[in-house]
């Protein structure tokens, strides 16, 4: 997925007018702590100042540039909160006088044993900031397509990168990507050691775009609707396959965009199945999934066969480092499968 985002950013700086890709250690020689920005011609290193980074993005966007800014880990975006709120407010506050075409990308979530300050989720916070588009891919191809869309937006877009998936290879190739992963790596991954003379060889890429606001049914089913995104999505898809052997027929939806989310898709599915499970790894109190539960109850109450359910992270102050602690803090495959079984068995 890291390569997919990198290729999308390359396409965007070549063809979509992206002028600046910046953040802490984003430029050469490192190209980002997850290598997402290696070899990009407009990538540069900023001072270690998250507020400065967000302010720079806003200023560049005001002046007609097209910035893509990075906060190294979303755990370090909390001190930019008022700026994120302002960026989302800007167009509304001045009654449409100005708009901010900017992308803010940041790695989120657990799954890499990142301990307390590299495991936070940001979906609840991000969706509390009206005026932002918020996207979160679960596959490399969607990551590519969503970044292409983000770089064409007239409004601020928060691009949440599920960090545990950044090293995952997708089933569907990026249009233009060589079939052999080693060939791609040779072309666009920076070499170890001295990189000063290195230049990437980009494959011929295209403007493949995933529209913002559109979810996707990744596994059709008739008995139960499972809505997820980001790192939890492949776990949900796998759990759905596992419980299928026991006769539980789950439909799995990848939301892909959290704001504005594809309610039409979710609603149609719940109307069909009568059962809904929302899965994410953010802490469960005042969770984005809670909003979806509320909306399902409000709008679909008489179509429901069981109470909609949320499976999310525990409401504790952080994700602890030890294996046992991380596993106990965020949803694990057996819990997801168990929740599916339980929900499927419920009937009025």
């Amino acid at each position: 997925m890291a390569q997919a985002i990198r290729m999308a950013l390359h396409y965007a700086e070549e063809h979509l007018g992206v002028t600046d890709i910046f953040g802490e250690d984003v430029g050469p020689p490192l190209g980002g702590v997850f290598t997402v920005t290696q070899g990009l011609s407009t990538a540069w290193n900023t001072p270690l100042d998250e507020r400065g980074i967000v302010g720079m993005a806003m200023g560049l966007a005001f002046a007609g540039q097209r910035p893509v800014a990075e906060i190294q880990f979303c755990d370090y975006a909390f001190n930019t909160m008022d700026l994120l709120k302002l960026a989302g407010q800007m167009c509304w506050m001045c009654n449409g006088d100005w708009n901010l075409p900017m992308v803010l990308k940041t790695p989120v979530g657990a799954g890499i044993r990142g301990s307390i300050y590299h495991s936070h989720s940001f979906d609840a916070v991000a969706t509390h900031l009206p005026g932002w588009r918020v996207v979160m891919p679960s596959t490399p191809l969607d990551a590519y397509g969503l970044m292409i869309s983000a770089c064409q937006e007239a409004n601020p877009v928060m691009f949440l990168e599920p960090k545990a998936l950044l090293r995952v290879r997708g089933d569907e190739p990026i249009p233009g990507e060589p079939a052999d992963p080693r060939a791609l790596s040779k072309m666009i991954d920076a070499p170890l050691g001295d990189r000063s003379g290195w230049r990437p060889q980009w494959p011929a890429l295209s403007a493949y775009a995933v529209p913002i606001g559109k979810g996707k049914v990744v596994r059709p089913g008739g008995q139960l609707t499972v809505v997820s995104y980001g790192r939890m999505l492949p776990l949900c898809a796998k759990a759905a396959d596992d419980v299928a052997a026991e006769g539980v027929d789950a439909e799995v939806i990848d939301l892909r965009t959290l704001a504005p989310y594809d309610w039409d898709l979710v609603k149609a599915s719940i109307e069909k199945t009568g059962r809904a499970l929302f899965v994410n790894e953010d802490t469960e109190v005042t969770n984005f999934g809670e909003h979806l539960v509320r909306r399902a109850v409000d709008e679909l109450f008489y179509r429901l066969l069981a109470p909609p359910r949320l499976l999310a992270g525990k409401a504790v102050p952080g994700v602890g480092l030890a294996d046992n602690l991380e596993r106990a803090s965020v949803p694990q495959p057996p819990e997801i499968a168990a929740a599916m079984r339980e929900l499927a068995a419920l009937a009025p």
């Binding site: 002028t19 600046d20 001072p47 100042d49 507020r51 400065g52 967000v54 302010g55 720079m56 993005a57 806003m58 200023g59 560049l60 966007a61 005001f62 002046a63 007609g64 540039q65 910035p67 008022d82 700026l83 302002l86 800007m90 167009c91 509304w92 506050m93 001045c94 009654n95 449409g96 006088d97 100005w98 708009n99 075409p101 009206p130 005026g131 588009r133 064409q152 937006e153 007239a154 409004n155």
Partner: protein
């Protein structure tokens, strides 16, 4: 008489500029006083503004390169900058509309407090209540300007107390990265107060401008109550930023003539130095304008604003369903 002629010959600025400065300062003062009276008579929920800062804010606006986009100056202002906005040629009726939060308010459609300007066609980015964040955005517009080429600069303004925020230090740092210096005129208008907290109890630095020295930038502290000195110092600082494409930290000592805001009563503070009074005495001494002429200027602006306000208070409020407008910009940016 001989004395008078001699002084006339040595006017510190061209006569028409002195007259223009006076006219705009009076208009800015009359605007703030009208806004305060609107607030006090129930035609606004809150007042905050810049009476007492006209000697600095007006020359700043006159010296800006007006226009839209990176070829022109950008202004990242705080909420005391009406004088600058009027000097850019803006019709003061907009400020009245914002005070009355009418649908016709050109800066926020009735959404924001008075003094919170937003004028895209003049590169005035939206004023926010959040202290000091403008110092973080200024480097961004300046980077675009430096890249664009030409002599346009970014101007950022704010008060003394706000410099305690890390955002101020961020601005000093982001505008002086070695080899990446940025054309920003960094202004601090020092009125010695942060609401009720005296600056002297917070800031150990002798001059706030001294903070720029650690970053190797040019700095100066000036008398912002003197419009002539302000004009000259601003002209020099702006010329430097335009040409060298580097930042300049300018601290202007100003007055807070009606207190912090309506929250503290918005009443005239007699002990504060009034820049307009000092300037009018000078203009009389120079023989540029006499008392009668200056009184006429005041009456003209005060009456025009009173009349405009009478019309504005009859204008409709925004409709309830307008809350949904402009949450997002259309694809092309609108």
């Amino acid at each position: 008489m001989a004395q008078l002629v001699r002084i006339r010959d040595e006017l510190p600025l061209p006569r028409d500029l002195l007259v223009r400065l006076h006219d705009l300062m009076v208009q800015a003062r009359a605007l703030e006083e009208r806004l305060i009276s609107m607030y006090k008579s129930g035609h606004g929920y809150f007042w905050i503004g810049g009476p007492g800062e006209e000697a600095f804010s007006v020359p700043l606006g006159l010296l800006m390169k007006k226009g839209q986009g990176p070829a022109y100056d950008f202004l990242h202002a705080h909420y005391r900058q009406s004088g600058t906005i009027l000097a850019l040629g803006e019709d003061p009726v907009g400020a009245l509309r914002q005070m009355k939060n009418t649908a016709s308010d050109p800066y926020s459609g009735g959404r924001n407090f008075g003094g919170h300007y937003s004028i895209r066609r003049l590169n005035v980015v939206p004023v926010t209540s959040t202290i000091e964040v403008q110092y973080l955005m200024a480097p961004g517009t300046a980077l675009a300007q430096k890249r664009h080429g030409g002599d346009a600069i970014t101007i950022v303004t704010g008060g003394d107390a706000g410099t305690a925020e890390g955002d101020f230090a961020s601005c000093l740092l982001w505008t002086t990265r070695p080899g990446q210096e940025l054309p920003v005129l960094i202004v601090v208008t020092n009125n010695q107060w942060g609401i009720s907290t005296p600056a002297a109890t917070v800031h150990a630095t002798r001059n706030l401008s001294d903070r720029g020295k650690a970053f190797g930038m040019r700095t100066k502290t000036i008398d912002g109550n003197d419009p002539i000195a302000s004009y000259q110092e601003l002209a020099e600082a702006m010329a430097y930023v335009r040409k060298e494409r580097r930042p300049f930290l300018l601290e202007a000592k100003v007055s807070r003539l009606y207190g912090h805001s309506s929250a503290s009563g918005a009443n005239l503070v007699a002990e504060e130095q009034d820049c307009l009074r000092g300037y009018e005495a000078k203009l009389e001494r120079y023989g540029v304008l006499d008392r009668e002429q200056m009184d006429a200027v005041r009456v003209r602006h005060a009456e025009a604003l009173a009349q405009a306000a009478r019309a504005v208070i009859e204008e409709p409020q925004p409709s309830p369903d307008s809350i949904w407008d402009h949450v997002f910009a259309p694809k092309d940016g609108g």
